[in-house]
Symmetry: C2
Subunit: 202 residues, 2 copies
């Protein structure tokens, strides 16, 4: 079993932290996304959307999408639980994972791609859209701060996959100069807390 990834990209880090929390060892194969290696026929055969990370099982079966790879390992090895237990907690963690992914992680990514022109060899940057994505990502920080004023972690009182998405999104946000503001006291408390976990170095 191995994972095709790019060590500097934010999505693969989500998987590495998830596997560190589960204490699951993994073989990693580096893909040069800046050079377009993910767009090759070989990689497209593993993931038709031409993105990393990709988990390749020993029989050649491939799973892509960061969170789907994480779900695979959650089912194989449930402990420690990172997607929740019981209908309500599972739904709440899924909801907050999605809130963070859609409104923070993805907006930061769109801001990066559309304002820096990093992938301008394969897409046409839309500066106005990129700037708006950055505005929306920044706005979401207030919602996340409010949530963390009520709960220890992003999706409640247990560390979960939603915290992993949020940590990777916030660290990546620095590349587009989106940072926590002085009034984000609850987010700062949480950020220090999750950074104490050994998995945060993965």
């Amino acid at each position: 079993m191995k994972i095709y990834e790019t060590s500097t990209a934010p999505s693969p880090r989500r998987v590495r932290i998830f596997l560190a929390e589960k204490n699951i060892p993994m073989n990693y194969v580096q893909v040069d996304i800046a050079g377009g290696e993910n767009l090759s026929d070989v990689l497209r055969a593993k993931n038709p959307m031409a993105k990393i990370p990709i988990l390749e099982l020993d029989d050649g079966t491939c799973i892509s999408e960061t969170i789907s790879i994480c779900r695979y390992f959650e089912t194989l090895q449930p402990e420690p639980v990172l997607f929740g237990c019981g209908a309500l907690q599972i739904a709440q963690i899924d909801m907050w994972q999605r809130f963070v992914e859609l409104h923070l992680f993805s907006n930061v990514g769109m801001c990066f791609q559309h304002t820096t022109g990093y992938f301008s060899d394969r897409m046409k940057p839309n500066q106005e859209y990129g700037l708006e994505a950055g505005v929306q990502a920044t706005k979401f920080l207030d919602i996340l701060d409010k949530q963390l004023s009520q709960y220890q972690y992003v999706a409640g009182d247990a560390f979960s996959v939603a915290d992993i998405t949020a940590l990777c999104a916030l660290d990546f946000a620095r590349v587009v100069n989106i940072r926590l503001a002085d009034n984000h006291v609850h987010l700062k408390r949480w950020y220090a807390l999750v950074n104490q976990r050994p998995s945060s170095k993965a």
Copy 2:
């Protein structure tokens, strides 16, 4: 228990079809999203992202995000299974649900919002971005057609939540004039198949 929704919007239809497949009855409360009712303090208290659908439990706890609501019911009542069984199938269904949601459903939604100005009272449409989203949605149909040349349903040989997302995305795509092409023979075969299910009328 009740669901706040808008009967004409594509996301709530995903939940209605899912509940019809599970044969779970539900009370629906209509929200006037065109009139901005979802932006009210009352609705924001139920979902900070101000979107529908929202599931409200009898104790007032709210779950939003279409797929998180579906997961709630999958855990409460596993049969018929719509998110898969076992690590591999669960991951594959999750992956294809996400492929369809991110590359078809969301792109169609962005194309609609940014080219029609439907929500121009609350957001600034970016015509160029909307048109590009439509191009990407159309491109994804070829990938989905290829997948359906190999499997009966979107995520394999079992009907799943990925089919529900795809059906609702394709029907909604008509509003931005994105339709199946003559060469999408496998998608057409699949579309007829899923439309035979009573749930498709939900």
